[in-house]
Amino acid sequence: MKGSRLRAVLTVSILGAVFLLCVLYPLGVMAGRSLGVEGRFSLDRYRLLLDMSNRGNLEAVENSVFVSAVSVVASGVLGLFLAFVFTQIRFPFRTPLARLAVLPVALPPLVGVIAFLFVFGDTGILPRGLQMLLGTAGPVFPAGGIAGVILVHVYSFHVYFYLFISAALGALDASQIEASTGLGGGKWRTFVRVVLPELRPGILAASALTFMASMSSFTAPLLFAGGKHFLTLDIYASKLNGDIDLAAAQSVLLTGVSLAFYLFLTLGPARTQGYARKGSAAAGLLSPGIAARRVMVALAVVVLAVELLPVLVIVALSFAREGSWTTGWLPSSYTAVNYTALFSDASLFRPVVNSIEMASLALAGSLAFGVTAAFLVSRRKNRAVSTWTGVALTMPYAVPGTVVAIALILAFNRPLIAGISVILVGTFWILPLAYFVREYPVVIRGVGASLEGLDGSLLEAASGLGAGSFLRFRAVALPLLLPAILSAGVLVLIGSLGEFVSSILLYTYDSRPVSVEILAQLRSFNVGAASAYSVFLMLLILALLRLSGGLLASDRRMSYIL
């Protein structure tokens, strides 16, 4: 009794201290710095930022909000369309194609954006290829500026809608639709009156998620916007200009918007409710007539081809000899030297080692912290307390990567308290710390969801049989949560290995991760090297996804063998 009580208090204290030091303290310091001018309290920076007569500020807000709103609508339409086609229409190769449809989320953000740039940018393969083909004066339909940013967003974020909506469509009860058509409702009427309302929570959640992600999107504006103002880019610019206090104020504003959406997402009507339904799934019941069906499937296949194109192109470009892609629409000469150099040149391989090291550290931290926190949160009897603790702990999920970097810089570029010096800025350690802060919420959310599905009487049975809290956790909860922990761990690794947004503000030459190196190679016009790194990252992530899938399957088998 005494021992387990002491252990519980100790665990909570350690978790609290980590959360305080890594999340609350940096954000607090950031808020504080944004409010201080020469040691006095002042709202001057906010007045400056919210002064909409200033052209730059207005443009940043306008662009960020406009791009985010259009991204939500366009991603929603595309995601709904694909979800409908893949759940309601039967056609050959449906299952492998459906798997392909989620490909864009598996791409690290920087890789996705540069791949897109290579295909659709104004020097990209498609516009230049069409220019050659049609003999026009300039590239045909180059994607760039605001439209380019939106396209990249739709490319990445429509998958949220696709996933949420196809899950909701899959959960639809066939008898609901049969009841509606049996009562004389046509297919279209049934879809609008019966199906759409069921999809509402999923659509709301995906909308909030997409809006949040678009507002904090950094890579797409950086590479596509051509110097236009965006909220995230302005933070980056303020930091580079040396006005980190202004960057702090901009970060606070952006975080405020993001957090509001996050609260809506977790506590508002978008929260997905669990329905207990009986009956068979409604797949195929809404399938339209044969002509419409063919058009829709053809369109979906075109969309998937466009989605796949950037990946194929970046694989092809990774074999391009440097300097061979200048005037032609394709590189003129190919070689494997980009890969051999990557693995033989120590300075080229260094970023790979860095990324793997830092991602592993972030993984260890996220699992230790996230799993324990999820367990403690779920064991609280009081629903409100447990919900709010969960929301607070997963808050960094809503903090844009740019802001995480600014907050960490401000918190750890000076002694913490008199006597204790924790200067991390300019060291290797600040990067894994940033990855940890950005990624651990995934573990709490994933493991927390799995814990909610865990039968509470199992833990009660264990305690009745004499198991203390530690044994209950180790022998009962942990093995049952293993699949969730593994997939959360893989997500942490994927996020950290390709992390770019925080890294670009925090790296030093010695600690540069792969993503920063890709950008550096790109800036020196080494398209082949940049692509080779990208392909390497993609393969690593693909392997991790397969590994987690394999492990999950074998774990399920394990439960029957052991």
Binding site: M1, D455, S457, L458, E460, A461, A462, S463, G464, L465, G466, A467, G468, L471, A475, V476, P479, L480, M558, S559, Y560, I561, L562
Partner: protein, 352 residues
């Protein structure tokens, strides 16, 4: 000495009183059933005994020791959960061994005791099976073995048969009964099924609305229900409002005056409630001894017995009779003379 004593134990959920202050004394080796409709607080009371809920008032003693403040892992009480709560990622053997390993029993002793426990529920062959591969009845027996193996001072059952089909339920009921008799472990058993409680328990506590209404041996509860609720719930009685005569020797109901046999406890004259159990009514075919006439509303033939719904006044009474060729001729719509056996009737001042 009582094996388990509850003294003024009460449990609230927010403002809702799930269990009002309750006293129960259970002696060593006794099989005690807590019986009541759903939502009466019986499972909550069981969970308080097991340590899964902390009581808001009162205290619990197990073998003379105050266990009120102890957690489930310190009480040494075995519990069989309604859904069995077997660990799905472990084999049958590891499920049963769990409690021993938590108690730092090691080596051959674990194997011996686990196999012995599995033997007692006739499952020793299945020791290597994964839990999901077992049938519902087998899972139930593993849950019993897992609770028994720790040699608990007290064994708790939370509606253990409710997930089984009817044939298996009767068989498992018998097994639980034999096992409890042979091990002599003091047992508290929660159920909403009065047949289950009557057939298994040495004593039954009937609960309603968080209160223990009456407790005692099954026959006592059946023959002398303390109030209208126990008469209804345990005896299947139908309640009718009546008027007790000034001499306390007759009761007026439905326009007829019924004579109360001598030697019964009768409430004071005035409004009262008469509880009529199904076996109290029978047909007076020859008219002999009939106290009233009733209209047959329904007939439910179950083989050995037949249950009739009889409309008398504004109440439909139940009559349970042994099936004979004669009962087959009694059809809905008929007017029949009815006899009343006072041994199966009870008088109360009011409903409660």
């Amino acid at each position: 000495m009582a094996a388990l004593s509850l003294r003024g134990v009460a449990k609230n959920f927010g403002t809702f009183a799930a269990v009002h202050p309750t006293d129960i004394e259970i002696s060593s080796g006794e099989f005690f059933a807590i019986l009541g409709p759903s939502g009466c607080g019986k499972t909550t009371l069981l969970r308080v005994i097991g340590g899964y809920e902390k009581p808001d008032e009162g205290s619990l003693f197990l073998g003379g020791t105050d266990i009120t403040r102890l957690g489930p892992q310190e009480r040494g009480i075995g519990m069989v959960f309604q859904n069995y709560a077997l660990f799905p990622h472990m084999t049958v053997f590891d499920n049963v061994a769990f409690g021993l390993r938590a108690r730092n029993v090691r080596g051959d002793a674990v194997r011996e005791r686990v196999m012995e426990a599995l033997e007692s529920v006739r499952l020793s062959e299945k020791h290597g099976s994964p839990v999901p591969a077992l049938s519902g009845g087998e899972q139930q027996r593993v849950a019993v073995a897992r609770a028994l193996v720790i040699r608990p001072a007290l064994l708790l059952f939370d509606e253990p048969l409710s997930n089984l089909d009817i044939a298996l339920r009767l068989q498992t009921r018998e097994e639980i009964r034999l096992l409890q008799r042979s091990t002599g472990i003091t047992t508290v058993y929660v159920t909403h099924d009065q047949g289950e409680a009557m057939s298994l328990a040495d004593r039954i506590g009937v609960m309603r609305g968080g209160r223990l209404e009456q407790s005692g041996e099954p026959a006592l509860l059946y023959e002398s229900p303390a109030n209208t609720f126990v008469a209804e719930f345990l005896g299947g009685a139908v309640l009718v409002d009546c008027e007790i005569g000034p001499g306390r020797d007759s009761v007026a109901w439905n326009g007829v005056a019924l004579r109360i046999p001598a030697g019964r406890e009768v409430p004071p004259p005035g409004a009262a409630v008469l509880a009529i159990k199904p076996e109290a009514l029978s047909f007076a075919e020859d008219g002999d001894g009939a106290v009233m006439r009733a209209t047959v509303r329904s007939r439910e033939y179950t083989g050995f017995t037949t249950t009739f719904g009889l409309l008398a006044g504004d109440r439909v009474l139940k009559a349970l009779v042994v099936s004979t060729p004669g009962t087959g001729r009694v059809a809905p719509g008929m007017q029949v003379p009815v006899r009343l056996d006072w041994r199966y009737c009870h008088l109360y001042r009011s409903r409660r």
